[in-house]
């Protein structure tokens, strides 16, 4: 059952990626601007531009270009970046670890805070703890990331001089961007944990578990929480997907040279090969995370594989 479920989900993922490759290919070509002209000095003549286009294969019909591109992808060749003059694969491989590190730190920070707060708020619905937790969540969900980033830099770097504002290095550099990126997620997970617990605690099977003489703390953290976990895993998974695609705003503000920053530059340079492959890789990452989320959820709740 579980194995067949995995196969089915993998099949769906391949189809999704195929359509994304077409979209990514088309989108960057719809955008105005000519990559051949961007490569050449402003003084270049029409002939020179035309020669460059032929060199880059841009004179061929679109479907030929696409087939050439997708053929390369299937052989593991993501193409050559026009602006970096090196293989797209190596550029992405170079930037990806930074984004991965930021993503991991963000998820860790936000879950460590939000899950305990959410559970406690749900158990003690209507209490002071609950009120404070909801305030924490309200602020986190309504604050803009840009403003939060700037305030973090202002308070912790400029005023208190505790943490570096920009760049990459040790763990010190990771703290501000991870908190900035993680706070809205923490807010959302707090809310979901709370409402999930409130719903679950009303269920008959929780009363039944308490009636079996299982201590409350274990009933809450084990028997109730597992039921509240599924929507949380889903939301966290989606967020991991977004973060892996590069948190463009946060990476740019904190000069974090990850995938998000790279994508921003690649679009500006009309670097067709880099943009289309980057989008494909990000989408593949997103699809992979979603697949993992579905598999985790199916493990948590066996009813899911039956749908």
């Amino acid at each position: 059952m579980y194995f067949r479920y995995i196969l089915r989900r993998l099949g769906q993922t391949v189809i999704v990626l195929f359509f994304i490759s077409i979209l990514a290919f088309a989108l960057i070509r719809i955008a105005p601007g000519n990559p051949a002209r961007m490569m050449l000095p402003d003084t270049a003549t029409e002939e020179q531009v035309h020669a460059k286009e032929m060199e880059m294969g841009l004179d061929k019909p679109l479907y030929i270009q696409y087939i050439k591109y997708i053929g390369g992808v299937l052989r593991g060749d993501l193409g050559t970046s026009a602006s970096y003059q090196t293989s797209v694969g190596s550029i992405i491989a170079d930037r990806f670890p930074a984004t991965l590190l930021l993503t991991a730190a963000t998820i860790l920070v936000s879950l460590l805070i939000s899950i305990p707060i959410g559970i406690i708020a749900g158990i003690r619905q209507g209490s002071m703890v609950d009120f404070l937790a909801m305030l924490f969540a309200l602020i986190g969900q309504s604050m803009s990331t840009v403003w939060l980033a700037v305030m973090m830099i202002y308070i912790f770097s400029v005023k208190l001089n505790l943490l570096p504002a920009l760049g990459m290095g040790g763990i010190k550099y990771l703290i501000l961007p991870a908190i900035t990126l993680g706070y809205p997620l923490a807010a959302q997970v707090t809310r979901m944990g709370r409402s999930g617990m409130i719903d679950v605690l009303r269920e008959d099977y929780i009363t039944a578990t308490l009636a079996k003489g299982i201590p409350e703390s274990r009933v809450y953290t084990k028997y109730a929480f597992k039921n509240a976990l599924i929507p949380i895993v889903t939301v966290v998974g989606l967020q991991v997907g977004y973060f892996l695609g590069g948190a463009v705003v946060v990476e740019t503000i904190f000069s974090w040279s990850g995938v998000g920053q790279l994508a921003n530059q690649a679009v500006g340079n009309r670097d067709y090969a880099l943009v289309q492959s980057l989008l494909l890789v990000i989408a593949a990452g997103f699809a992979l995370v979603n697949l993992i989320v579905d598999l985790i959820n199916a493990k948590i709740d066996p009813r899911i594989t039956l749908e």
Binding site: Y205, T209, A211, K212, I214, K226, P302, R303
Partner: protein, 323 residues
């Protein structure tokens, strides 16, 4: 007289929500002795389940115990230490719930849900608990290899068997069964009742059977307590109460049952509707529906009076009506 196992005295429970206040229990007195099986009957909302949950100190959110005492083997349940309370729940008293579709946790295997009681109260490790759970499943008529299946892989009747297996896991002194067959179809009901009867004999457990099905009471119980609007209004041996019901409400309940033999009369329905716990009538709570109502009934709460050696009724007229 056997030792008193569970004794409830003058229990009053109120539910307070933002919108309304409901008086669920209004002075319940109830005693279950060792080895006894007591049926608690009444319409939905009479307070049967609330009585059971209060005995385990598990009133749902918004439920307040206003007054009364609950003793389990002479110990005040409300003053029990945390350890004593956990030991009572699931070990000394276990409860089977009404709806088997909602009373098993969907994300844990049935083995875990039986095994958790054993690990908690018998100190078994995972492996021993699994073995014991397997044996219990066999006892209730489910193949032991299904230990690692999830509740959604079982039918309603089988899930109730799982609930019963967990209920008898620690060989409790008192088993509370809260309408264990209401959600099941008739043939499955019979199987479950047969099973409970057998287990009760085997384990010599006391039973508190909550139901609105009088047939189940006569099958399984020796004593019966009839509940109306949060009070026990008639109590006695099943034989006494069923053959000579004294309270007009009990008479109504029995009159509403179709007879299979003899002359068939029209079924008699009790006029009116169940008392609303949010606006309970003054005096005897049954008086607006009672055809024998007097002025006294409208003003004063009647006391429980003894009509025979093992038969009590809460009615001013002691169940003596002309004609």
């Amino acid at each position: 007289m056997e030792e008193k196992l569970l004794e409830i005295k003058n229990l009053r429970v109120r539910f307070v929500t933002e919108r309304a206040t409901a008086d669920a229990l209004n002075g319940v007195n109830l005693t279950i002795r060792k080895g006894e099986s007591l049926g608690l009957v009444g319409e939905s909302g009479a307070g049967k389940t609330t009585t059971a949950l209060a005995s385990l100190k598990l009133l749902p959110r918004g439920g307040q115990m206003l007054d009364g005492e609950i003793y389990f083997k002479g110990k005040d349940v409300m003053r029990m230490s945390k350890r004593e309370l956990l030991d009572m729940r699931g070990h000394r008293i276990s409860m089977i719930f009404q709806n088997p579709l909602t009373s098993l946790n969907p994300v844990f295997t049935v083995g875990e849900q039986i095994g958790m009681v054993l690990r908690q109260h018998k100190g078994l490790n995972k492996k021993q608990a699994d073995e014991e759970a397997m044996r219990l499943l066999e006892t209730v008529g489910i193949a032991g290899y299904r230990l690692n299946d999830y509740p959604n892989q079982f039918s309603g009747g089988m899930r109730q068997r799982v609930g019963i297996a967990a209920g008898i896991a620690c060989n409790p002194e008192l088993l509370i069964a809260d309408e264990p067959t209401t959600a099941l179809d008739v043939t499955i009901q019979a199987q479950i009742l047969e099973l409970m009867k057998r287990l009760q004999k085997e384990y010599s457990t006391s039973l508190l059977m909550i139901t609105h099905n009088l047939g189940i009471i006569s099958e399984l119980c020796e004593k019966v307590a009839v509940m109306y609007a949060g009070r026990i209004i008639e109590y006695g041996t099943v034989r006494e109460v069923f053959s000579d019901p004294r309270h007009p409400y009990t008479r109504g309940l029995l009159g509403a049952l179709p007879k299979l033999e003899g002359d068939r009369d029209r079924l008699t329905a009790i006029p009116g509707t169940v008392a609303n716990a949010q606006h309970l009538p003054e005096g005897c709570r049954f008086h607006p529906r009672c055809e024998h109502c007097t002025e006294e009934c409208k003003k004063q709460q009647p006391e429980m009076v003894q009509v025979k050696e093992e038969h009590f009724v809460e009615c001013f007229r002691g169940g003596k009506f002309d004609g």
